[in-house]
Amino acid sequence: MVYYYPESMENLIQQLTRLPGIGPKTAQRLAFHLLSTNEVDAFGLAQAIATVRKKVKRCAVCANLTDEEICPVCRDNNRDRQLLCVVEQPKDVLMMEKTREYRGLYHVLHGAISPMEGVGPNQLTVGLLLERLKQGEITEVVMVTNPNVEGEATALYLASQIKPMGIKVTRIAHGVPVGGDLEYADEATLAKAYAGRNEL
């Protein structure tokens, strides 16, 4: 009889193969590692997965990921509650927070409008956003979507919906990256950087 791994091991390898970027060989290596590593680490991982799946959900106000009904950012009274940043993904909130420049609120769309992939506003949290804006507290919405076709389409679509409500809609500037080289900036970026130039 040909030897196979024990069934439970085979199952673990199968489960790991489903993760993005992990093929059968990597899955096998990870499974062996989980078996040989100390128990605390292995159970810690299992526990962490179980907890995150049970606890993390979308904030009822901004749709960002949170452990609670309403996330800490939405509850924070020290923030500028008239200013709202619209981002595509939860990780973009983190990036904005890292700037330490922005002290307003957020709204996470969980994607971007992509006509070619068949993603429209209904698949995003646009409804929640528009409802929130109707309450009238927010006076400016900043579009912090990616500077690609999907991000532009999303920003343009949202602007067309939000502007009639009398709320100011702005878009982050596009430009040459810090530490980059002009030689490698393409014409579209450079043109936008020029249009948005500042006085020294």
Binding site: P115, M116, V119, P121, V149, G180, Y184, D186, A188, A191
Partner: protein, 254 residues
Amino acid sequence: MTGSRLQVLEGLVIRSREYGEADRIIIVFTKERGRVSAIAKGVRKGKSSLSGATQLFSYSRLAFAFGRGSLATVTQGETINSHRGLRESLGRIAYASYISELLDYSLPENKPQESLFILGASVFAVLEVIPEEDMEILARFFELRLLAILGYKPQLDFCSVCGRGVMGGSFVLSPYRGGIVCTGCSGSAPDELLSPGAILSMKKLLEIDLRQLFNFKPGSEIKREMEQATEGYLRYYLEKSTKAKQTLREYINI
């Protein structure tokens, strides 16, 4: 890289999808090789020189390394025309997406399609500058010319079954028959009807020069009839319906 071959090609980026952490998989419509699928590595990191050249709708000069697999690798690139205007209004994004999708579906991999390339490139260039109200007629022009180049040009002179002339009543466009069929022969639902005016307009779009296109202004009813007819016709021959049209119909009038 052993066994790989480097080739510099100019083309339109008709599809661009994020892949992995910082890569992008693109489909480029090139003059010399037709549809080329390729991976551009690291382009979503801010400092990559390829990020502009591999953006959706850009017309770029790209260096491809063709290996054994079906996916080439983009090694260098520069933008020739970024078609910036196409990304600055929702309507233009919608039509450019629609045209890209049709091109994507109708091109075989790695086979030159020069006349289609010229059509695609010129329609893209024009779409960037025309007033938004002219975009619809441009889309109809593109659909019919695409069908003609692919060898599916509809026969619009007489009923494909009984031979009745265009002026003799109402017709429908039947992909199965490869042309118009009079209502007596088809027995179709009345909302798909093509009036003689719509048939003549479609014939005109199949002949007209792109430079003259915008002097031609058919009424909204004729435009609606043409849109319905070409949609079914394209779906039959491409064996797919475009997502762009479905998605965008929900919130702007394409």
